[in-house]
């Protein structure tokens, strides 16, 4: 059963006619396609914000082993708690996503694309397969796409199996190869040595849809939206204690306060920006901007009302990470469990401030020494909540709980 759309605002994607971006791209040289994407300042919509044009350039320049294939992978493993915007794109703007993959393939010289779909999104399979079939019939996938001699590209769908870490691009690739979903050592990066050891671009669903829009309307149009360092519009998955949770589009650079106003969340106690791996922003900092230069996010916004117990919030996030760490590297495997233990000690009023300081130091170690982004970002919520809500968290007693 398909859920009804959770869109709360019209999206810019409504104004992009499917096919427009790809048609424009096929009129350009490969270098010019990448040039256009670079000029738009588009940065990865999954949350890390790596410049898409730069990624494509590296993949285009990389040489596969034995002249082998290059790959475009769409990361549709939308698993960050509080994120559900890719769901809208995959169901309602499907063509723009596949079109973005096709444009990426044209740009880097890939012949094969893979949509890595979150296991829980299996209900989308018939719809996505149908769109792929239609695109093949229309000559938008397959050999000599839209009459462009020598441009051959097709897309497969592969299902994830439910591990959060597989949203990390190298773990995703491991999973695609049939191994345990565990991140690889980087460098080398997937643009050099990705799926099956070949140059691979891994882009988020929204990034690829945005590429279609950029090619359709031009880099200048896109850059005019947002801030200098965070160009364009962005989808947000808003949930929690607010009047109208759902999927919103705002230009990057919007303040937390302005966003809360639009979603009916004024008067919130705190907002978690960027999901479980993001940071918790207290009311005193609602003037900060949601943009790569300030509060970066893949789109997850969780609003906490005045009645929320912030220690409980932190515990919820840490329970998630203790469940989802892949267990490969020491800081993340053992560190998250120690942080959760610390929260349980805080609940009982049994955590000394000296030990809490040690745990905050441990957070720094995890952020610096973990192998991948999961362990590097999992302490963020703990650090920001402990820092901003120290009075609320400390001084509990077993009786009070």
């Amino acid at each position: 059963m398909q859920p009804t759309s959770s869109k709360k605002t019209p999206l810019t994607f409504d104004t992009i006619a499917p096919g427009q971006g790809l048609a424009a791209a096929l009129k350009k040289s490969r270098a010019d396609i990448i040039g256009e994407v670079s000029a738009s300042n588009l940065r990865g919509r999954g949350g890390a914000g790596f410049p898409t044009g730069t990624k494509w350039n590296l993949a285009a320049a990389a040489q596969g082993q034995d002249g082998g294939a290059k790959y475009v992978v769409c990361n549709a493993d939308e698993g960050e708690p509080g994120t559900f915007k890719d769901r809208v794109l995959l169901l309602e703007y499907t063509d723009l996503v596949f079109e973005g993959m096709t444009i990426a393939a044209r740009a880097i010289g890939a012949t094969k694309g893979i949509l890595y779909l979150r296991g829980e999104y299996v209900y989308m399979r018939p719809h996505l397969d149908g769109v792929l079939a239609a695109r093949r019939t229309a000559g938008q996938l397959g050999a000599n796409i839209l009459g462009t001699t020598g441009f051959t590209f097709d897309i497969d769908i592969r299902m994830g199996a439910g591990a959060y870490v597989c949203g990390e691009e190298t773990a995703l690739i491991e999973s695609l190869e049939g191994h345990r979903g565990e991140p690889r050592n980087r460098p080398p990066f997937p643009v050099n040595t990705g799926f099956l050891g070949q140059p691979t671009v891994v882009n988020n669903v929204e990034t690829l849809a945005s590429v279609s829009a950029i090619l359709a309307k031009g880099a200048a149009w896109f850059r005019a939206i947002g801030t200098e360092k965070s160009a364009g519009f962005k989808l947000f998955s808003v949930s929690g204690d607010c009047g109208a949770p759902g999927v919103y589009e705002f230009p990057l650079g919007i303040t937390v306060a302005a966003l809360l106003e639009k979603v009916g969340g004024t008067g919130a106690k705190a907002v978690q920006i960027g999901g479980a791996s993001g940071v918790c922003v207290p009311a005193s900092e609602f003037g900060r901007r949601i943009a790569f230069e300030d509060l970066a996010t893949g789109g997850s916004i969780i609003v906490f009302g005045q009645g929320r117990d912030m220690l409980h919030v932190a515990k919820n996030f840490m329970e998630f990470f203790v469940e989802e760490s892949c267990g490969q590297c020491t800081p993340c495997r053992a560190g998250n469990a120690k942080l959760l233990e610390g929260i349980e000690m805080l609940e009982r009023g049994a955590c000394s401030s000296a030990y809490l300081r040690e745990l905050l130091n441990l957070c720094e170690t995890m952020q610096l020494a973990s192998k991948c982004g999961l362990g590097q970002s999992s302490p963020n919520a703990f650090v920001s909540i402990v820092t901003h809500f120290q009075d609320e968290i400390l001084g509990r007693t077993a009786a009070a709980h």
Binding site: A61, A62, Q63, G64, Q65, A163, T170, A171, I173, E174, E177, H179, R180, E182, P183, R184, N185, P187, P188, N192, T193, G197, P199, F321, V322, E323, E324, S325, C326, G327, Q328, C329, T330, P331, R333, A334, G335, N336, A337, K338, E358, N361, L362, E364, T365, Q367, L368, A369, S370, K371, Q376
Partner: protein
């Protein structure tokens, strides 16, 4: 040496998450990879080839970076994170073992962040590492313990488990898994999947529930483990160790009604010195003879004697098979495979059972000696075999399994009662208050005191083949092997290359067939002008390569005789040898063995005066 163990990007079967990968750079890859690049490590400049890891670059300038999941034989995992360093321009710390240098870098190895991270990582590992150091097999030879000391760990910052979380797995005759001590470095996983291509160990579960396990969590004794013990040799802690039977051996020594006989294989003598602080490759053959007598063994024999028997059996079996195939036209399994390595034998049984007929029917030297002692020796010395306890000092964990195989009791008694590893014997010698290197030299006991150089070189990869060729060539060609190869050193089958292949044309044959095989083969004429094709493989990953080639009908399928050893480097790299191991250490042990061979008065098995005297009674297994 580089071909010995197949670590590295190109051949590793480990998932890419557990290895460093080849860097592809746009443009001329080879030129860039070959290029030199200058990096600055703690203020010191060093020029290294492109792609060198930060860890290797630091070692070049004498900067020590601690490691746990890194091992010189294995592909890089980058999972323990204890080697993290600061790389200028990178927000996060980088694992020195896994960071390839592709541009000029500035690296700092002991900043506040780095020191804090290392302490935290050690503290985290110790928080779940159950067991006390003084009751651990690896006490004073444990990498975790050494790092805890190096980094001044004086309290358990993040707590410490106080009771066992996982029962020990003691189901295997060879390998004990004590997962309470596991730090999840995955060296065992990479060893099993990569060096040996057996793959019985894998990480299962997630997060802090991750553990190293077997297929369906079965006990190790019930899965396709080949008992090679290579995982033990690479475990940084006491999580893996051999199943120790030294207490039983002490009991036998203490029992006045028992006649306790020990045979010592060639490889332990080349390695045991390491347990007493000697450099790798320091031979301890004769000091050990004295020490074992002092420790209480009634007789000390040299397994090389039965290695010589093995050669005569396997050599004549080969000639017999050739004669059957070429002259009588009978169906015979070729190539003939060596059967000395119990790890290899079990590997073949599990993975290529259809080739069991290709195994030589000869027992391994360990088992042959056991049978000789409980039959010929017992009779000759008028001792009831039930009162004899035979102990085998082996470089091997799989020998413990082998001596417990139910079919290994031809004498009516268990041929070999206990197999001890080099490590366990070093422990027993220490317990007897003996400092081995200080011992005066002593001889092996008669009647099997005489062994040849051919027996000694069994310890190194290619050794069995060389020994067999010395005998077979001389039998067939009727000329001294020294006339064909300088000092009887058949160099083409030596060395650590993973797989070796040699062709030996037989121009002329001897008109006389030696008496020992005349009943099988009346004449060697059928071999005139033939080419003997032989091969040598060590480590079961290399064995797999050869076996797959044979299945596909490749060049190895046309071989007549192939030596397979389960462990990298052969027995000198066995799973019972001193820890640590590395390509350099194994090469040093091999040197010690070849030196002993060169010093032997008799270097060919068939010229062993003792073996000709007693070979007939030991023949049941061979023909």
């Amino acid at each position: 040496m580089s071909g010995e163990v197949k670590a590295g990007a190109d051949t590793s079967r480990a998932p890419s998450s557990q290895k460093i990968q080849q860097v592809h750079v746009g443009g001329d890859v080879m030129q860039l990879i070959g290029g030199q690049i200058t990096v600055t490590i703690d203020g010191t400049d060093v020029k290294v080839p492109m792609g060198t890891t930060v860890l290797d670059a630091a070692r070049r300038v004498g900067v020590r970076i601690p490691t746990l999941c890194h091992h010189p034989d294995l592909c890089v995992a980058g999972v323990c994170r204890v080697c993290v360093v600061e790389v200028e321009g990178q927000r996060a710390l980088q694992a020195a073992c896994a960071f390839p240098i592709t541009s000029s870098l500035k690296v700092k190895t002991h900043t506040r962040k780095v020191r804090q991270a290392r302490r935290h990582i050690l503290d985290l590992l110790l928080s779940t590492h159950y067991g006390e150091c003084y009751s651990c097999k690896r006490n004073n030879n444990c990498e975790l313990q050494a790092l805890a000391k190096e980094y001044g760990v004086d309290f358990y910052r993040f707590g410490h488990v106080t009771e066992s979380q996982v029962p020990k797995d003691e189901s295997s005759y060879s390998v004990v898994r004590d997962m309470d001590k596991c730090i999840l470095c995955r060296r065992c996983v990479r060893t099993c999947i990569d060096i040996q291509e057996v793959g019985v160990l894998e990480a299962v579960g997630r997060s802090n529930k991750t553990r190293i396990s077997t297929f369906l969590d079965k006990p190790l004794g019930d899965v396709v483990c080949i008992n090679c013990g290579q995982c033990i040799n690479r475990c940084p802690t006491g999580a893996l160790h051999a199943a120790d039977t030294s207490d039983e051996v002490w009991r036998a020594i203490d029992d006045p009604t028992k006649h306790v006989v020990i045979q010592t294989a060639p490889s332990p003598r080349a390695g045991i010195g390491e347990c007493f602080g000697c450099e790798p490759g320091t031979p301890m053959t004769y000091q050990m003879n004295t020490a074992l007598k002092l420790a209480g063994f009634d007789k000390v024999f040299d397994t090389n004697f039965s290695a010589d028997l093995t050669i005569i059996e396997e050599g004549t079996e080969l000639l017999g098979r050739l004669h059957k195939a070429l002259v009588k036209g009978e169906p015979v399994a070729f190539p003939q495979f060596t059967s000395c390595s119990p790890g290899w034998v079990k590997y073949l049984e599990h993975f290529y059972p259809e080739y069991i007929p290709n195994l030589s029917s000869a027992k391994s030297p360990q088992q042959m000696f056991g049978a000789v002692i409980k039959t010929y020796y017992a009779k000759a010395n008028n001792i009831d075999p039930k009162d004899i306890v035979t102990v085998a000092l082996m470089p091997c964990s799989a020998k413990k399994f082998e001596c417990n195989r139910p079919e290994m009791a031809d004498s009516g008694f268990k041929d070999v009662d206990y197999g001890l590893t080099t490590r366990e014997m070093a422990q027993m010698i220490k317990e007897a208050g003996i400092h081995l290197p200080d011992m005066p030299k002593g001889d092996f006991d008669d009647p099997f005191g005489t062994a040849t150089g051919s027996g000694v070189i069994f310890g190194a990869t290619g050794g069995v083949m060389e020994a067999a060729l010395r005998t077979v060539i001389e039998f067939v060609c009727g000329v001294k092997v020294e006339k064909l190869f300088d000092h009887a050193n058949i160099v083409p089958v030596r060395g650590f290359e993973g797989v070796k292949y040699v062709e030996l044309p037989i121009a002329n044959v001897s008109p006389e067939v030696p008496a020992i095989i005349r009943h099988l083969i009346p004449s060697f004429d059928f071999l005139k002008g033939a080419t003997l094709k032989v091969a040598v493989a060590h480590g079961t990953a290399n064995a797999r390569r050869v076996m797959e080639d044979i299945k596909a009908g490749g060049k190895f399928s046309e071989c007549h005789f192939i030596e397979f050893m389960g462990c990298p480097g052969g027995c000198i790299g066995g799973g019972g040898q001193p820890i640590p191991t590395s390509p350099e250490i194994r090469a040093a042990r091999a040197r010690a063995i070849y030196e002993e061979d060169a010093e032997c008065a008799v270097r060919k098995s068939h010229e062993n005066p003792s073996s000709t005297a007693s070979s007939s009674p030991t023949a049941p297994a061979a023909t």
